[in-house]
């Protein structure tokens, strides 16, 4: 059972998370407004945080990957904060654009 978990199930989960990112990537690339892109970016970053932990489980090195996942979660806030400040400042000129 252990073998199945590590060898088949976890890579399957990784594959699934990568495929789920396509939905968010669609929003980032084609989202009608800038805010949709920001939303998609946030979704992708959460998926990558989860993906890091799953990759760590696959390699049996979760202790190494989990620190980076923590760092990501914090960085995500900084980036989103900067983008949101920018869009609040001069958002209306660009939100109609594609």
């Amino acid at each position: 059972m252990m073998d199945f978990f590590q060898a088949t199930f976890i890579p399957g989960v990784m594959m699934g998370l990568a495929l789920l990112s396509t939905a968010y990537l669609y929003r980032v690339l084609c989202g009608p407004t800038v805010f949709d892109r920001m939303l998609g970016l946030n979704g992708i970053s959460t998926k990558v945080i989860l993906l890091l932990l799953v990759i760590g489980t696959a390699n049996d090195r979760v202790d190494m990957f989990v620190d980076i996942a923590l760092g990501y979660a914090l960085l995500n806030l900084v980036g989103s904060l900067a983008i949101a400040k920018y869009l609040e400042h001069q958002g209306d000129a660009i939100n109609a654009m594609d």
């Binding site: 890579p11 990558v48 990501y72 960085l75 900067a82």
Partner: protein, 181 residues
């Protein structure tokens, strides 16, 4: 299954890279670039280069995004639109050719070392890597091997890199300084 995962990640990366060249305004380009950094960090983590993944996340997704946005704060709204010329024929033909040549050269690279089992170590990592891993603590008394390599074995390189980054930081600070004062 692992190969499919890597292929899926690479396809996502390529899609993002194509997307950057298609967007119409700079703020969207910044967002797509941050997305590219996140995916790239996942690729690094999958390859086992966790340190590189972390730097990619910090610099690519965090710092670069904030710096780009600081720059955009200074620009007027109509300046953030991108007007694209039509793709020149040279680029359309030359870039695929260049990519093909790079792929052709990649065949001759030493095999990717699968260090997880410690067995199939490729040429690139047989000569010095083992010595670093075994003896770096005795020689430098630094617990982390990556830090030992960066700060002891190639200290001058790192020093000059730091100088370059410092200069770039000063240049950014000068450019982004508040003009009103």
């Amino acid at each position: 299954m692992m190969e499919f995962f890597e292929i899926a990640l690479l396809i996502l990366l390529i899609t993002t890279a194509v997307g950057i060249s298609r967007v119409r305004n700079l703020i969207s380009a910044v967002l797509v670039l941050a997305c590219y950094s996140f995916l790239m960090a996942a690729v690094w983590a999958q390859l086992g280069a966790v340190d590189v993944a972390f730097v990619e996340a910090v610099v690519g997704a965090g710092l670069a995004t904030v710096l780009f946005l600081l720059t955009l704060f200074r620009a007027r709204a109509q300046d953030t639109q991108i007007r694209r010329a039509r793709t020149p024929l040279v680029a359309l033909l030359g870039l695929p050719l260049l990519g093909f040549l790079l792929l052709y050269a990649a065949v001759d690279l030493p095999p990717y070392p699968d260090g997880r089992d410690g067995q199939d170590l490729g040429k690139a990592s047989t000569r010095v890597a083992a010595e670093y891993l075994q003896k770096s603590y005795q020689k430098t008394e630094t617990p982390n091997v990556v830090t030992a390599v960066l700060m002891d074995y190639r200290a001058f390189d790192t020093l000059i890199e730091t100088g370059v980054i410092f200069t770039a930081g000063i240049a950014c600070a000068l450019l982004l300084r508040d003009r009103a004062k």
